[in-house]
Symmetry: D2
Subunit: 336 residues, 4 copies
Amino acid sequence: MIVVMSRSATEENLKNVEKRIESFGLKCHLSVGEQRTIVGVIGDKKKIGELEMGAMEGVEKTVRITEKYKLVSREFKPENTVVDVRGVKIGGEELAVIAGPCSVESREQLRETAEAVKNAGAQFLRGGAFKPRTSPYDFQGLAEEGLKLLREIGDEYDLRVVTEIVDVNDVELVSKYADVLQIGARNMQNFRLLQAVGKGNKPVLLKRGLAATISEWLNAAEYIMSEGNDDVIFCERGIRTYETFTRNTLDLSAVVAIKEQSHLPIIVDPSHGTGRWQMVQPMARAAIAAGADGLIVEVHPHPEVALSDGDQSLKPKHFKAMMEDVKKIASAMGRK
Amino acid sequence: MIVVMSRSATEENLKNVEKRIESFGLKCHLSVGEQRTIVGVIGDKKKIGELEMGAMEGVEKTVRITEKYKLVSREFKPENTVVDVRGVKIGGEELAVIAGPCSVESREQLRETAEAVKNAGAQFLRGGAFKPRTSPYDFQGLAEEGLKLLREIGDEYDLRVVTEIVDVNDVELVSKYADVLQIGARNMQNFRLLQAVGKGNKPVLLKRGLAATISEWLNAAEYIMSEGNDDVIFCERGIRTYETFTRNTLDLSAVVAIKEQSHLPIIVDPSHGTGRWQMVQPMARAAIAAGADGLIVEVHPHPEVALSDGDQSLKPKHFKAMMEDVKKIASAMGRK
Amino acid sequence: MIVVMSRSATEENLKNVEKRIESFGLKCHLSVGEQRTIVGVIGDKKKIGELEMGAMEGVEKTVRITEKYKLVSREFKPENTVVDVRGVKIGGEELAVIAGPCSVESREQLRETAEAVKNAGAQFLRGGAFKPRTSPYDFQGLAEEGLKLLREIGDEYDLRVVTEIVDVNDVELVSKYADVLQIGARNMQNFRLLQAVGKGNKPVLLKRGLAATISEWLNAAEYIMSEGNDDVIFCERGIRTYETFTRNTLDLSAVVAIKEQSHLPIIVDPSHGTGRWQMVQPMARAAIAAGADGLIVEVHPHPEVALSDGDQSLKPKHFKAMMEDVKKIASAMGRK
Amino acid sequence: MIVVMSRSATEENLKNVEKRIESFGLKCHLSVGEQRTIVGVIGDKKKIGELEMGAMEGVEKTVRITEKYKLVSREFKPENTVVDVRGVKIGGEELAVIAGPCSVESREQLRETAEAVKNAGAQFLRGGAFKPRTSPYDFQGLAEEGLKLLREIGDEYDLRVVTEIVDVNDVELVSKYADVLQIGARNMQNFRLLQAVGKGNKPVLLKRGLAATISEWLNAAEYIMSEGNDDVIFCERGIRTYETFTRNTLDLSAVVAIKEQSHLPIIVDPSHGTGRWQMVQPMARAAIAAGADGLIVEVHPHPEVALSDGDQSLKPKHFKAMMEDVKKIASAMGRK
């Protein structure tokens, strides 16, 4: 941490700053400039993390040099983490493709979807049983009934099952049926939920919050890992900006940023990321070209009657076309 | 809802759109323009809320005319709601002022703060016992020990107690000690938590999410009210924008927007809203001038040693000065 | 400037960094931490401003401590600047109120408006003669004809005239008729235009860009002042955020920020800032309570037939009500 | 356009709305719902573009269905436009690659760069002679001297020359030396400059504004085309969001949006889009995979001593690696 003293800071202000730094067992290093004095704080990263100096008299601002997360960082673990989901890998040479409807609506809907996405090459089936919806009057999901259908159809087509968890009390229940627990964008900083899945034994798909910074996202993953669960997969799903043409702004540079800062795998959700089914295919290609380890895509056999997110769901034939495109890009990238 | 057909939509596309609308028990009204046909959907608001049309062939876009929330709306209840917190009103003629430290740290810290804010005119004591922090390694609060201190000191100074709840399982526990339950910005769309406090019997202070729209915020309040709890107070605390000079961008037009759309009271948090203690006083004045029903302000006897949010906490003497300023504005506004 | 070396930086990297800093006539000051070395750059502010280090090998990041602007800063000139517009002051004890239609449409429209705003207490008449419109097919203004009307009606009612300039070649022309030249949000970083009005002799009203930071805005004013024109007035007019309820998000904390960083006056535009006429009155009050030196407000005798910005224009009767409200707040603030 | 009447609108309000619509030579079509009446406006698109209704009594809101631009739209011209720059095509089967330093600094710097980018496969040389810089004290470019060097070196290596124009009076001067005139992000809504290059005879590279919507960007291009210049190339260069890890947020979905709405070509600038040279290569790949027609990339032989934008400039060897990657993706996309 660097503490920038204001021009009008007194000798006493500076003394107090030094005293406080030393009281944390840290050392000071002064740079006396023409206009300002700058104090470098040297010592244990964790202790620096706890230090707050901005409210002291004579302090103009403080600048943090190091991030607080550790376990998720590439500095801590240089080689890529590969998450193994009952034999299917995420983060390895092969791309991971998760596909399925926004909400589980019925056995027929789910089976029709599963068959289509399996044939097109997906290894994972997604579907919401507990839906976090903006309005309390929107369809909230089939709950455990939905989980059972996911498990049943997943097994039928040898697809791993990914589904969202929204309640800290549901870890056991959802883990009974699902292979991967998804933390949705609205819960990225629901720290109790992060801790709960961190104590569980299922891989966690951690979506980026609607307005989360890269740093906050990495810290959210640190919440999970610090509880003992190392199997975290990031998922970029678009951020909220001023632009209204798309539902969100898909930030593909986040893929590169996460790869630089962390050893954990990252996949991309072009369905929520754009909110328009016509854009899913080109943005899926772009995601893979940026270096993503996989995709999560909404597919519905009849999007026009979907109970949620119909606008952004692909029909099976469009999903198939997308997969063909993606394979070409993957191959150009030296991946499978 | 209005359905805009694309220029290339066929007769059959239009037929299907009409059929689907009618299948929901709704009526269609067609406007045939030179280039496009537009379909107005007429009927029950709740049914329209469930209708999704954007994925149908020939549909260019859909425009929602009515919002999905009802109980929170001024259309539903034209007169202002006044929330009664054991005799102290929020939303009435008198302004409500909530003050206290970010985190409860010790009895001494809390007592010193309580005495100062009581003397300056605050009616409520705030303080965090469960802190949602970006990093798992940051101070997480004193938990129940903090709640007990809040109750004890609150009673000693006849201050109502406001504190944050972060876990769906803590409603009973926190309600035992606190007078008002606060939902923090990061949990504004933690729908399970909203439902849990909606089933409780304590007034709820609902902070705006970091990147929440006015509409999403109103819907979050609807989650609480639809469970039976009518005592909801909004709290504007700044939104996330590109600007980095301030921690957040305090959106005071939200005060006017909420007053226009809803009958519920709204207060403002200039501490989180700016992140800089020097800005709290002028922005507190501005909030009241915009029509806010009160303020929530961070006050700490020694901000330079605060365990969290020291940069934005007022010292007691600055809080006193702020209160004097605010009283002048309140009086100019015909309030107390 | 502070240069943070990466963990893996070599001795040679550090040597090169020091060499480059010294080649600018600046001095280095090293802090050797446990994990990283940090280099403080000491010396002439202007030279530091020219230094770019981020591309050097072994450099993780650079942090600028000082801003590049000087003439606009309060550090340079601690006392408030008061701009004198032919005897009417902006930035002094009395509030400055600029009012009038978005576009000058006709003599009748302008006279009716001028009479109303003069009677309500405004000292300045605004109106666009050159309109920067999003579409080339929108009404672009009456050009010189509009300027003539502004001058004529301004003189008739003893109102100072404020109008926008959009072309670097129009400085002489617009200065012939107007008392204050307005730089619109879209031109805040049209540096040639800034330089041109900087060479002129009329006060400049500098609107904040749609997505401009406080720092960029101050630098834009520095462009004007560095050409010799000291009469710059800032105008906060809302920034672009994700929120769509309002046209822009009026950032009143910018008033406090500018007052802190600069000696120049600042006024607020609640009309563009909200885009909704019903919000203008409360946000005008809030602006004054935040410490603004005045207001610029759109007033139109018949907003429903305005050629532009009808939605956000006040009718004369609403402007009068606003002025009465504003006077109460001004008085509570100890201003006139 | 659709006009939504408020619930409390009177019969007279509705009459006035209808009267005003008809006064523009347009027709009304009423949908009378249970709670609200909705008025569809039918007729000539241009006339509807001029209609403003939001300020009329009884009107709750208005919704525009059609965009105001025409010449740039794919509706107007379904087939792709290919811009011919003295024999080199932009928008055709072959990708267009523009590379070079942020600023022209010297003949040696430019020649070294030109040789490297030509060898790696670029067809265009870029370089700034007039630099729009945030601070007046930053390096502002070599002006005409820089233009001459660009022309000289461009011819030496058979590279087309792209350079920015910042002044409405410089069209003739810059056109004398350059093959393509670039409008920078800060000038995207400098409408006079757009009109000036629209009257010129050189292709225009139109960068997206820092916070411009897709719609505003298309309208900016319409300004150029409506003056008679059909050779417009869009350039996505990142938008301003809350995220600070990258300099801007590169919005690759804009490539898909522009391709959908317009027939004009679009290229991507991963250098400004990310602000970090390490991210340029993966984001260049992603841009091409999303469907972009080319790239504009900052290359500098010695980024560590660049006078501007060193952090985001590629060294020649990294540019070469990027081109090899890009060729693989182009080939997977069926392009050259």
